[in-house]
């Protein structure tokens, strides 16, 4: 078994050199791009090396390595696979630098949506639609809502490779008991509970206002509950017109109302993400909207809290809202995509087909606390140490009519930053609905 190696500095430098050359040749106006010339080889008599790029993650990397070994470390295989990892902070930069050079990966980890859209448009990512359509068994291996969330312009470019991360509400039941209110399921109950906590001097909801992506969760769910999934789909068209939907105005007004009511406390804008979970854990706040990974964080820092007073549920349904209360927002999953110029792409796809839904792989993922987007894995979850939470999250994602990818990942990159900033300004009370819409329209134009 080969250990995973970090992406070599030399490779990275070589890629930078190559980019500099590209700059130089580009300046001469030459056109030597060649995205179509990759020769494909029949998987049976293929030989060579496959580079698989992933994030450096202590828990996940051995699972990926075992899976590669199962497929490639056999008598018949003349192909060897290298798992190459890079830290979360630099992964995107390194990939961006290297994707169109000779050092490019064959299979690479990504977040779907906006994270690969520009590569897709440059013809660098293999369209997996024919493979999934011609092989229903392959397609049905994965949860449809998650597979769909990874679509770009109606085509599939990624295969789900790890846990689903829907966003859900977490509650500290000890605080609820103290104040004498019950965990809310509807919007009105939520508002009433918030008022009760405010009267008791407890921050109703912990939110890390210093990190705008945590505020985004509220924007996503409120928009969906008020106006349905179509509102954001129209926004992703990128023309800016989508922001004019009345549900957006309603969402902004709702958030301003929540802030004015003190639902998030008075100092939320100073709180960084790392300090927001502990607020719930320590009983300084009663509720929190966060990703499914938060459970793991709580488990690591305070198992007793998870055991005794942690409860969870979907985002409350809003009476009269158009959205389906079963809709989910979050990160559907992370994906493996195949490089279109890889000479071994048939082998790479074959690997994904056989391994990403295999029982061994799913079991390994469950053992490290990942809940993969693979269909019909209830029997494997059954009897698991964290069965109650796992099956809630799994069913939440599996039964979701729509699983919305996080907005900042789904829209075009240049529009994401202004959007997050506008959201911050809504929470700070600096922007009203018209200002928010205007800011996003400006970014889209």
């Amino acid at each position: 078994m080969t250990a995973s190696s970090p992406i070599r500095r030399r490779t990275f430098l070589a890629a930078i050199g190559a980019s500099a050359t590209a700059l130089a040749t580009g300046a001469c106006g030459s056109d030597d791009s060649d995205n179509s010339g990759a020769e494909t080889v029949d998987p049976a008599d293929a030989s060579g090396e496959i580079d698989v790029w992933a994030l450096t993650e202590d828990a996940l990397n051995p699972v990926s390595q075992d899976s590669l070994d199962r497929f490639f470390h056999t008598e018949e295989s003349n192909v060897t696979a290298n798992l190459i990892t890079e830290s979360n902070d630099s992964y995107r930069d390194v990939l961006q630098t290297i994707i169109d050079t000779d050092q490019r990966p064959d299979i690479f980890f990504n977040w779907g949506g906006g994270s690969i859209r520009s590569y897709v448009q440059a013809g660098l990512v293999e369209d997996l639609t024919p493979y999934l359509e011609n092989d229903p068994e392959f397609r049905d291996t994965f949860l449809p809502s998650v597979l769909e969330a990874g679509q770009i312009d109606g085509a599939y470019y990624g295969i789900p490779m790890r846990t689903m991360q829907p966003k859900l509400m977490f509650y500290n039941t000890a605080v609820f008991d103290d104040v004498g209110v019950s965990v809310p399921t509807t919007w009105q109950e939520f508002l009433d509970a918030a008022d009760a906590f405010n009267d008791a001097g407890i921050t109703p909801v912990a939110v890390a206002g210093a990190d705008s992506w945590t505020l985004l969760m509220w924007v996503e769910y409120l928009t969906d509950r008020l106006g349905g999934a179509q509102v954001f789909r129209d926004i992703t068209e990128g023309t800016g017109e989508g922001w004019r939907h009345p549900a957006i105005t309603e969402m902004v007004n709702t958030i301003r109302d929540l802030v004015d009511r003190g639902v998030f406390g008075n100092a939320f804008a100073s709180v960084q993400y790392d300090d927001s979970g502990p607020l719930l854990e320590d009983g300084m706040a009663a509720m929190m909207l966060s990703g499914s990974w938060e459970y793991t964080n709580f488990l690591n820092s305070n198992p007793d809290f998870v055991q005794n007073s942690l409860e969870w549920g979907p985002f409350p349904a809003i009476e009269g809202g158009e959205g389906d209360p079963d809709n989910v927002a979050g990160n559907p999953t992370n994906y493996f995509s195949v490089h279109a110029n890889s000479p071994l792409k048939e082998v790479a796809i074959e690997y994904l087909k056989q391994e990403m839904g295999s029982d061994e792989y799913v079991q390994d993922l469950l053992d490290i606390g990942d809940i993969p987007a693979v269909a019909d894995i209830e029997p494997l979850i059954e009897g698991h140490e964290h069965e109650e939470y796992f099956s809630f999250v799994y069913n939440m994602a599996a039964n979701a009519p729509n699983f919305q990818l996080s907005w900042d990942q789904a829209i075009d990159r240049p529009q994401a930053e202004p959007m997050l900033e506008a959201i911050e300004n809504v929470f700070l009370g600096n922007l009203d609905a018209e200002g928010f819409i205007q800011a996003n329209e400006d970014a889209a134009s």
């Binding site: 980019s19 590209a22 700059l23 580009g26 300046a27 056109d31 791009s33 930069d93 961006q96 630098t97 994707i99 169109d100 050079t101 520009s118 590569y119 440059a122 660098l124 206002g209 210093a210 990190d211 705008s212 406390g265 008075n266 100092a267 939320f268 804008a269 100073s270 709180v271 960084q272 300090d275 502990p278 607020l279 300084m284 990159r413 240049p414 994401a416 930053e417 202004p418 900033e421 911050e424 300004n425 700070l428 600096n430 922007l431 400006d442």
Partner: protein, 322 residues
């Protein structure tokens, strides 16, 4: 035959009496002296060229293109520049950057000047205290930013106690637009005042004591000595320190990235941060290059202005007539 007078002058440092010395030197004398030729410049010129001039030129070239960091570079002419002039975010960031620079200079210069002059004294306690005071110089900007962030958390840090002192109840310091801005000014000051103090300390120690002796005989007060001797004598140090400070403020980055992330709501989104998000969040390298070019132009212009209006370029010695 050399006169004793000539012998004495030769032993003086070159810079003090250059022309007179040359007049006294014989022809054969100067030929044997090793004098630096153009080749001596070569390493510095190559280094500067490869690591400063070429990248700078490439950035300017890139500002006329659209490039996501891979693939073909699309030449887009003046598109980035047109967009830049019409981009309200750029103007807002420029305003914030200039405010930060001005406020940084206004707070750091008097502090560093006073502490530097104080630290220049020969007393032992001053030597001990100033070496402690220079400690922030040893810390990286990133470490300082992270430290202050922990410190300013409203629930687990000191902000809940500190905030009310500044009229910010609930400890919402870096979550408020003004609080975040002042925090950046304060943290930058905390980090950089020691460095400028060091400059002023060295400058103050170079002031000949005879000036103070003469002033004491004339009956000058301490503050009169400070304003009429120390500050004028430190003129060049003030210019040097100001140029470093202004250019340094213009390229502040890590502190903002780690402490406020340009927030809240863009209140601390300075130009370098905007450039970073354009280049490495949005992957619009061409547009980021245009912002970078603006930064270069602004920083160069400001340091030229300082040098010009301070008379620094004339290089007149502060020791004239001594």
């Amino acid at each position: 035959m050399k006169t004793p007078q000539a012998e004495r002058e030769r032993s003086l440092p070159d810079s003090r009496l250059p022309h007179r010395k040359r007049a006294l030197r014989t022809k054969s004398d100067s030929d044997t002296l090793p004098r630096p030729g153009a080749a001596y410049l070569l390493p510095a010129v190559i280094f500067f060229g490869v690591f400063a001039v070429v990248p700078l030129a490439l950035v300017v070239v890139l500002s006329f293109s659209s490039w996501p960091g891979f693939g073909e570079i699309q030449w887009t002419g003046l598109d980035n520049w047109e967009r830049l002039l019409g981009d309200s975010r750029v103007w807002e960031s420029t305003r914030i950057t200039l405010m930060l620079t001005a406020l940084g200079w206004l707070t750091q210069t008097p502090m560093a000047l006073l502490i530097g002059v104080w630290a220049a004294g020969p007393q032992r306690n001053r030597a001990v205290l100033s070496s402690i005071f220079f400690l922030p110089l040893l810390l990286s900007s990133a470490a300082i930013a992270v430290l202050f962030h922990r410190f300013l958390d409203p629930n687990y840090g000191m902000a809940r106690e500190l905030g009310p002192l500044f009229g910010l109840p609930d400890g919402n310091i870096i979550g408020s637009s003004q609080g975040a801005f002042i925090t950046i000014v304060f943290v930058s000051g905390w980090q950089w005042i020691p460095f400028h103090t060091l400059l002023y300390q060295a400058g103050a120690r170079n002031i000949p004591t005879v000036l103070y002796d003469a002033a004491t005989i004339d009956g000058a007060s301490r503050s009169a000595m400070f304003w009429r001797i120390t500050v004028p004598q430190l003129r060049h140090t003030i210019v040097t320190s100001s140029v470093i400070m202004v250019v340094g403020s213009l390229i502040t980055f890590e502190t903002v990235l780690l402490l406020t992330g340009g927030g809240p709501g863009g209140a601390t989104r300075i130009l370098p941060y905007l450039m970073y998000t354009a280049g490495f969040e949005s992957f619009e390298m061409g547009y980021a290059a245009a912002i970078a070019t603006v930064l270069v132009v602004v920083a160069t212009t400001m340091s030229l202005i300082i040098v010009k209006f301070s008379g620094f370029a004339k290089m007149r010695s502060t020791l004239e007539g001594m």
